[in-house]
Amino acid sequence: MTEFDAATAAVQAALDAGARYADARVMHRRYESMTARNGEIESVSQDESAGLGVRALVGSGWGFYAVPDLGGAAARAAGERAARIAAASGRVAGPGSSLLPVPASTGSWHSPCRIDPLSVPLADKGDLLVRATALSREHGADQAEGIYQIWDTRKWFVSSEGHRIDQHIRECGAGISATVIGDGETQRRSYPRYRGQYGTRGWELVEELDLTAHAARIAEEARELVTAPLCPAGETTLILGSEQMALQIHESVGHAIELDRILGWEAALAGTSWLDLRQLGTLRYGSELMNITIDPTIPGALGSFGFDDEGTPAVKRDAVREGRWVGTLAGRDSAAVAGLDYAGSVRSDGWARLPMVRMTNVGLEPGPHTLEEIIAATDDGILMDVNRSWSIDDRRLNFQFGCEIAWEVKNGRRGRMLRNPTYTGIGPLFWRSMDMLSSEIVVWGTPNCGKGQPTQIGHTGHPAAPARFTGVRVGVRG
């Protein structure tokens, strides 16, 4: 029995058990990771996971059941069980559920990959992490850490509407960090970001990072931070580097435009959104420099795919255009409730998880400046970069973010290093204060976005560039 056969059997069983719609996904994933510390390998792990998840709609109730067995009998039993669970949902029924009508897609897609990351010898990958962390250690890190992760995922999707799609997505990435223990506190520097940079690419991504070239620098910077002056407290002009901008976009735009949050479906845990659908198309989210797109078609970005996990083909669309909110991240069910005419942002983190609204690649279009021009145009401010901590309220408004490193900016020049930089604000007020934006876009990959119950870990991409904000409160501390 092929994977398509198993998925088809599950869908048919759900229909036979009373479902008016059903879909099923078979997924097979191989995962490999390695961590190193202070020049020695700390852990090596290779995991394999395979199974089938089937979703059924009975009346207005949804049900989902997942099993690791891909045999025909197990697949049919899973379809029946999903329909029974859906029927139980009807005991506390809501308004009638429907799905945004879409053409049934068929097709295959695979991510670009020049060097298969699972085929690179473990010894070579280990040598890289050992070399980089040893170098950091030699240059002053008390704890030098390195990590790489690889995901190799194949999916087969079938729906009762005629979808029939298979995809092969390979993702990988790596990173290093150096920690120095100070007097009562620690300082950390990472390259290119804490726990690494990731994409839907092959091992060539890791080679391009050139970890060892940055190992000494991050250790030296961490040591320098221990004795650097504290980031002053007060209101100032803030320049953010592109890595921190990726986090800013992820937390204060990406999650806020998730349609399931806007509709209240995540109210009890992840929260809702400050956005009101009645303001879609008119609300001023940020300054006119702010153009944010939802684009799962970016080659090699971590949030890229050919089809989402409801079978909707990847399409680029606007979320914020010249500062005005114009788009959401939607699925077929949430779009139908909201009266929107597009979906395409639904994914699950494995065969055992229900597909739900997730970010794809949500990021900025380039601005007209460069980072050096932004610094040169700033008389008095602070430049911060590389995220260290992040906290935001359940409506995605009130945030406080901390960075690993900052520098004074005085009279158009980068000055002394500052430690423990933090800044806080209210999302739309912050974005409306953005008055300079760089053209130097980097597409950052975030492989650890938690959402949903049971928890799912999403992989998202974020095109981001350095930007300047005015009147920002900085230096908050306990």
């Binding site: 394999e48 996971s49 690791p68 139980a88 949902s89 473990l122 009890a268 306990g478």
Partner: protein, 462 residues
């Protein structure tokens, strides 16, 4: 039917055959079913269940170590798991700190099992959701009810083999009233312990009492933290403070032998009282483990690797798939103050205060804040354990021992150990409630807590 112990034994045999008698291997096998019925806008919108078996193998061969896992557990799948883990170990760099295997040891019990919870249907979960919705009296509600069971076995090439099984159930939800949310939650090994009626009513009372909040200026306030908020303290203390790996690397504040906390603080990790297996990921039997006794830090949590580095023995805190994260006490509890009449539960009270325990603490506060939940807490510095986060699901001003008015959510930036430092704890509730952690299998046991000072650094508007 193949049991988890059969699977673990098969993998141990395969290791011996494919890697030779010198290989050291530890294998865990777990068969589990988890189901979760989720509601929002007062109806069930997601309803999921999964059944699966996972086998994990850690192998030490010729001085090198590798790990692997698989959900493909037929004969071919297990052979593939062993072959690729053997190959990975042979290609890995040397592991000079391999701590060896757990010797044969007998755990204390086999876990807590409730047949009715193991067999719970989607209909039974939906019934509790119905109760929650109805008890909220027309307010919009959201939350979940979940049930699950796990049967697990551990075996290693040193001849150690143990089994255990456990059930778990949890329900939590919010009620929403004119922009105010009220929350209630409960966890147990038995679904029968969960009442949608009680939880829905409590959430609704809190939501109604949270309407029309005032905005208070940031600053230091005395606080009464309800058990739901105290759970966040325990989570962060467990992850960053009492983690043996963080301790070894000097990233933790913990200094065993030092009076780092108020005398009212006693912290014990006790997996045997929670819905947890009686052994850890390395097969080490779990037992109650005191981390702080009457304010004095006494220990941290260790797995075999962190213990070897610290020159001690494992305390049974190895976490599956989390070697890099360290050894974490995932069943941490703050011991409640002694109950004079020996009751095991606090009683219900009227108004927004969660129960009679918290109400007794509120009664002693001249001016302060009552906090239901902390939300999105993140560590600014692990060593000082300075954490930022927000309040959620209800904050109220306390004046002269009475709750007087609802307050808008506040942001805080606070060192958790400093908040619990000697002289800082003004009262501990007499009963602890069991709560599951949103993002993992951890369970926290927390009473209400009255603290002299909490550093609020921002209001709802920035």
């Amino acid at each position: 039917m193949t049991t988890p112990l059969d699977l673990a034994g098969q993998v141990v045999d395969l290791v011996r055959r494919l890697a030779g008698p010198g290989a050291e291997a530890e294998v865990s096998a777990e068969d589990a079913e988890h189901a979760l019925t989720r509601f929002a806008n007062s109806y069930i919108h997601q309803n999921v269940a999964e059944r699966g078996t996972t086998v994990r193998l850690r192998l030490h061969l010729d001085g090198r170590t590798a790990s692997g896992s698989s959900t493909v557990v037929g004969a071919d799948g297990l052979r593939n798991l062993v072959e690729r883990t053997v190959a990975a170990a042979r290609n890995s760099p040397p592991d000079p700190e391999w701590p060896g295997l757990t010797p044969p040891t007998t755990p204390d019990g086999a876990g807590i099992w409730d047949e009715a919870t193991a067999a719970a249907s989607a209909g039974e979960r939906a019934e509790r959701v119905r109760e929650f919705v109805d008890a909220a009296g027309g307010l919009e509600v959201a939350g979940y009810c979940r049930t699950g069971w796990r049967e697990a076995a551990f075996a290693n090439t040193a001849g150690h083999a143990v089994t255990g099984r456990v059930t778990e159930a949890a329900m939590e939800g919010i009620a929403r009233c004119d922009g105010a949310d009220g929350a209630a939650r409960c966890g147990s090994v038995r679904l029968a312990d969960l009442s949608g009626v009680v939880l829905g009513a409590r959430a609704a009372v809190k939501a109604r009492a949270g309407v029309a909040p005032v905005e208070l200026p940031p600053g230091r306030y005395e606080v009464v933290l309800e058990p739901t908020a105290v759970a966040d303290l325990l989570q962060n203390l467990a992850m960053y403070g009492f983690n043996g790996k963080a301790y070894n690397e000097r990233r933790s504040f913990a200094e065993p032998g030092t009076e780092q906390f108020d005398r009212a603080v006693t912290l014990v990790d006790d997996a045997l009282s929670a819905p947890a297996l009686p052994f850890d990921a390395e097969g080490t039997p779990r037992a109650p483990h005191a981390l702080v006794e009457h304010g004095v830090t006494t220990a941290v949590a260790h797995d075999r690797r962190t213990a070897a580095r610290a020159g001690t023995t494992s305390t049974g805190h190895a976490v599956p798939d989390r070697a890099a994260a360290g050894a974490i006490p995932l069943h941490l509890g703050l011991l409640p103050a002694e109950s004079p009449n020996g009751t095991t539960r606090a009683s219900e009270v009227s108004g927004p205060v969660v129960d009679s325990d918290a109400a007794a603490l509120v009664a002693g506060v001249r001016r302060g804040l009552l906090v239901t939940d902390f939300w999105y807490t993140r560590v600014l510095d692990p060593r000082s354990l300075v954490v930022t986060g927000l309040t959620r699901n209800g904050v109220w001003l306390i004046e002269n021992g009475e709750v007087t008015t609802a307050v808008r959510n506040l942001r805080f930036t606070q060192s958790y150990p400093r908040a619990l430092a000697p002289g800082a704890v003004l009262g501990v509730g007499r009963h602890a409630t069991l709560q599951s952690w949103t993002f993992s299998d951890a369970w926290w046991s927390a009473p209400a807590l009255r603290l002299a000072s909490w550093n609020f650094t921002g209001g709802a508007s920035g």
